[in-house]
């Protein structure tokens, strides 16, 4: 976007030509815009999730180890450059380890259960004879390179998809995502938030009680020990949830707008009827024998009724949001990058499918296609495009 109708600044150097003035002020505007863009802020969690789902979709459409490795690298790059300082941001490493475990498991399974045969035998393990009824299953035996490679490709694809979702978890605050739910589901969202914060408290009180039990000389084993830990922990959790409920009640949780009884009935009917319609519609869609009108039309009508009911119910919840995450250009671009990466990979799959699914027999060196490379490059763009995360708050004072 070039802006030609620029007011000439009063302080402009008189020797400058008009064009030069235009250029410099345009550049000034762009740099101002760029610095506003670069202001640290948290991106809308939905944008990160869309980006990550795009990457995961791309990964699901290929077994090419080069492409998959590049996708993992891209996810790691974006996480390292754009994650915040919160505890969940450190979870990414855990997902990477989980990915490594998945790959290792797949390869080990292929070796143990034989499965695919190949020509390039790497090592001959002694085969364990199985009884007749287990015919068809082979334990150990010769290990072929093709078989190991197939397991590796499979595992790598699964691991890459998992790591992409892990990236979303590290980049987006899961609780903020819950804040974006529509009004009608607000109570459900609150329940989930409370449950999430209860889990670490529970762990803490288990540790505390276990320590205390050791003071009484308990060995920490057996049903008596379990009872000794479980009862105080449960009592503690119950006390805490009562305190929380009292606090929430006295801070105004659950204030509702007055709604006439008639409208309440309409809302209820719409939601329930709509959900029933969705169920029946899905059944009709899957059951080919039924009449046509029971399929897609009923499903759509049910969906519309349910959504309408929820919107109506949402009006009853009277609350506002503090600093809601807004969907701005950066969010659009980040989500777009993910979706574009998925689209490009699918396109690459239709152009030359054998490069995206490199054959294991005969053994060939996997190659990259330009489209796949482009997809990976697009997926990496948010590492620079997304605004940086808010800086680390000062430590304990």
């Amino acid at each position: 976007m070039t802006d030609t109708a620029v007011d000439r600044p009063a302080t402009a150097d008189p020797r400058m030509t008009d064009a030069a003035v235009d250029r410099s002020t345009t550049a000034g505007r762009w740099s101002a815009r760029w610095s506003a863009w670069r202001l640290p802020r948290g991106l809308h969690p939905g944008a990160w999730w869309l980006w990550a789902l795009g990457l995961a979709t791309a990964a699901s459409h290929t077994t090419n180890p080069l492409g998959l490795t590049l996708l993992v690298a891209v996810a790691a790059l974006v996480v390292v450059r754009r994650r915040g300082h919160a505890p969940w941001a450190l979870a990414f490493r855990m997902y990477v380890w989980l990915g490594v475990v998945i790959v290792a498991m797949r390869v080990v399974f292929r070796i143990v259960f034989g499965g695919g045969q190949g020509e390039h035998v790497l090592v001959r393990l002694p085969e364990i004879p199985l009884p007749e009824w287990a015919a068809g299953i082979r334990l150990l035996g010769p290990v072929a390179a093709e078989q190991v490679l197939g397991g590796f490709y499979d595992g790598l694809r699964l691991a890459t998809m998992l790591i992409c979702l892990g990236a979303a978890n590290a980049l987006a605050n899961p609780k903020r995502l819950l804040k974006a739910v529509p009004g009608a589901l607000y109570a459900v969202g609150t329940a989930v938030v409370v449950a999430l914060s209860v889990a670490p408290q529970l762990v803490e009180s288990v540790l505390r009680v276990r320590r205390a039990r050791r003071l009484r000389g308990a060995s920490g084993r057996g049903t008596r020990a379990f009872r000794g830990v479980a009862l105080p922990v449960l009592a503690d959790a119950l006390d805490r949830s009562l305190a929380l409920a009292a606090a929430m009640d006295s801070r105004g949780y659950g204030r509702t707008a007055a709604v006439p009884a008639g409208q309440r009935a309409v809302t209820g009917t719409l939601v329930l009827g709509g959900l029933l319609g969705v169920c029946a519609g899905t059944y009709g869609l899957l059951d080919t024998a039924g009449p046509g009108y029971l399929g897609l039309p009923l499903l759509l009508a049910g969906l519309a009724a349910a959504v309408g009911g929820m919107l109506l119910a949402g009006r009853r919840v009277r609350r506002s949001r503090y600093r809601p995450d807004r969907w701005r250009l950066a969010e659009l671009l980040v989500a777009g990058c993910g979706i574009a990466a998925a689209g490009l990979t699918m396109l690459a799959g239709t152009v030359d499918p054998e490069l995206l699914y490199p054959p294991v027999s005969p053994l060939t060196w996997p190659e990259l296609t330009p489209l796949l490379l482009l997809a990976v490059a697009v997926a990496a763009v948010p590492a620079w495009l997304a605004p940086p995360p808010t800086p680390v708050p000062r430590d304990r004072t």
């Binding site: 009484r216 000389g217 929430m248 708050p393």
Partner: protein
């Protein structure tokens, strides 16, 4: 502002009502202090103000409670949220979100205030309470005093006209408590908020109070100016007791009041000094710890501490929250982590390190009662706990019950441990630990939630343990308790011992640790009212 009109609250049909026929009015802008023994109905009174009693707790309420013209009968707590802000005893269990800023906004979101207003109020409140630098911090990583201030801020953002605080400083060290109380008094003076505050340690707050509601425990509420009400109360803070002893009228409520009147008393006491505690006949070392190191990821909790405990001595371990007191106790007992150092307990079984023993033998060397004594208890009845304690220590049947009866006589055996008062529960946990007859007893913050009478009993109990030849360590923030209880005081900071000496030496050396009596009678070395009373009697008798 708040009106109670002939209010009676009952939780059960036949039990005694916590509040009986209470009529009172709290005017706008008052700081109103609620005092009384544990279980006297303080929480019931506070929770009735915003309708949690009976809407949330159940029970029946006769009469009417009106706040700012709204009757709690027709307005449940959530509809009073814009008028009354309530902060509970444990701020952490009342937090709904996970960062400071979101917590401050939560109440306003429920009142559906416009975003621009919310933004402005959050900034104002952060400044008002001095917590602006904490805005992005996760709530769980805050210290106790910070959490308490955030909890107060979180209700203040809704601009309530009444603030109800239930023991806001009971878990805090003296400095953090000062911070919280300073914030509260600022609210009263600058914003005209009406504050109703319950507290056990009256010495901390009585000087700020405009009036006192005293609950004797029979359902009545005694209402009046603090000095007048305290004159008729059997157990009061040291300052008030000193005032009674000296016959001052009205009673002093702050150290400043007392000091201005104490010239005559100081003259009467003259050059006299409290008798030095008799040195133990044979100072035998019960426990000796060398170079104890406790590390947690990222911090050093205890940095090479040496500790010697003598038979028959009560040691008070002081220091701000997080200074390593608990870590040191747990490391010495052997159940907690310990990365370096050695501990030797010299008991009947010879010199051993409890860490090298299995748990059931370590407790025979060193007994530790943790911060929440209830963690040690898990059976349904007091008798059950006592039997279990006898079994697991292979003691003769009835040992634990006998110990318990020495500590608090006449505790009903069929009572559930969770239904006991704080003091009774502490006594039960202590009896359970003493059943193993350890020569060394460690108590971690035992006096949280104890009223003056229970504290006095606790002092007698611990002195009894020491007299029976045990070495006792009490970790605590309570300077008045230490003055009455300890022979020796150790002060820790940042995992190191910064002061170690006799109670008089350490407590008189710094104003932060000086008890009120010492502040009033300085430079004379008096620590407790009992010492002064004995001296006055002695002065009268020879004449």
């Amino acid at each position: 502002m708040i009106t109670f009109d002939r209010v009676t609250v009952r939780y059960t049909e036949d039990g005694p009502p916590p509040l009986r026929d209470v009529t009172l009015t709290v005017e706008e802008g008052e700081l109103c202090l609620v005092a009384g023994r544990t279980g006297a109905g303080k929480s019931t009174l506070l929770r009735a103000i915003n309708g949690l009693v009976p809407h949330f707790t159940g029970g029946t309420l006769h009469g009417s409670v009106t706040v700012d013209g709204r009757d709690t009968r027709r307005h449940p707590p959530r509809d009073l949220a814009d008028v009354v802000g309530v902060v509970g005893q444990d701020p952490l269990s009342g937090f709904v979100t996970d960062t400071v800023e979101e917590e401050l906004a939560y109440g306003m979101e429920q009142l559906s205030l416009p975003p621009a207003v919310m933004r402005k109020r959050v900034e104002e409140t952060l400044d008002l309470l001095g917590i602006a630098e904490l805005r992005d911090r996760p709530l769980r990583t805050l210290s106790g005093g910070q959490q308490q201030r955030v909890a107060i801020g979180a209700v203040l953002t809704s601009h309530p006209r009444v603030l109800v605080l239930d023991e806001p400083t009971s878990a805090l060290d003296p400095t953090a408590a000062e911070d919280v109380l300073a914030a509260v008094t600022r609210l009263v003076h600058d914003l005209g908020v009406t504050v109703v505050l319950a507290e056990h340690r009256l010495e901390r707050v009585m000087q700020y109070a405009d009036r006192l509601l005293y609950l004797p425990g029979d359902g009545r509420v005694v209402d009046g100016p603090p000095a007048a009400v305290l004159a008729g109360v059997e157990l009061a803070p040291p300052l008030v007791e000193l005032g009674r002893l000296a016959g001052w009228d009205p009673l002093p409520l702050s150290v400043r009041d007392a000091r201005r009147r104490a010239a005559e008393l100081r003259g009467r006491l003259g050059e006299g000094a409290p008798p030095a505690p008799a040195p133990a006949p044979d100072p035998t070392t019960a426990l000796s710890a060398r170079k104890i190191v406790v590390r947690y990821p990222g911090t050093v909790a205890v940095a090479g501490v040496d500790l010697d405990l003598q038979v028959g001595q009560v040691v008070a371990l002081m220091g701000r929250n997080g200074s390593g007191k608990s870590s040191l106790l747990w490391a010495v007992q052997g159940s907690g982590p310990r990365q370096g150092g050695a501990v030797t307990v010299t008991g009947a079984a010879g010199a051993v390190d409890p860490k090298s023993l299995p748990a059931h033998q370590a407790r025979r060397q060193v007994g530790l009662v943790p911060q929440t004594p209830g963690d040690l208890l898990y059976l349904e009845t007091v008798d059950g706990e006592c039997r279990q304690a006898d079994q697991e220590t292979e003691a003769a049947a009835g040992t634990c019950r006998a110990l318990l009866d020495q500590l608090t006589p006449g505790l009903p055996g069929d009572r559930h441990p969770r239904d006991l008062s704080e003091g009774q529960r502490l006594a039960l946990a202590l009896a359970v630990q003493l059943t193993a007859a350890p020569p060394v007893v460690l108590l971690d913050e035992p006096t949280r939630g104890l009223d003056y009478l229970a504290k006095r009993q606790f002092v007698a109990l611990v002195r009894g343990l020491a007299a029976a030849g045990r070495a006792v360590v009490v970790a605590t923030h309570d300077v008045e308790l230490v003055a009455a209880l300890a022979d020796r005081v150790i002060v820790m900071a940042d995992g190191e011992i910064v002061a170690d000496g006799s109670t008089a030496e350490v407590m008189l050396a710094s104003p932060a640790f000086a008890p009120q009596v010492a502040k009033v009678l300085a430079p004379a070395p008096w620590l407790t009212v009992d010492q002064v009373a004995t001296a006055l009697v002695a002065e009268r008798e020879p004449a």
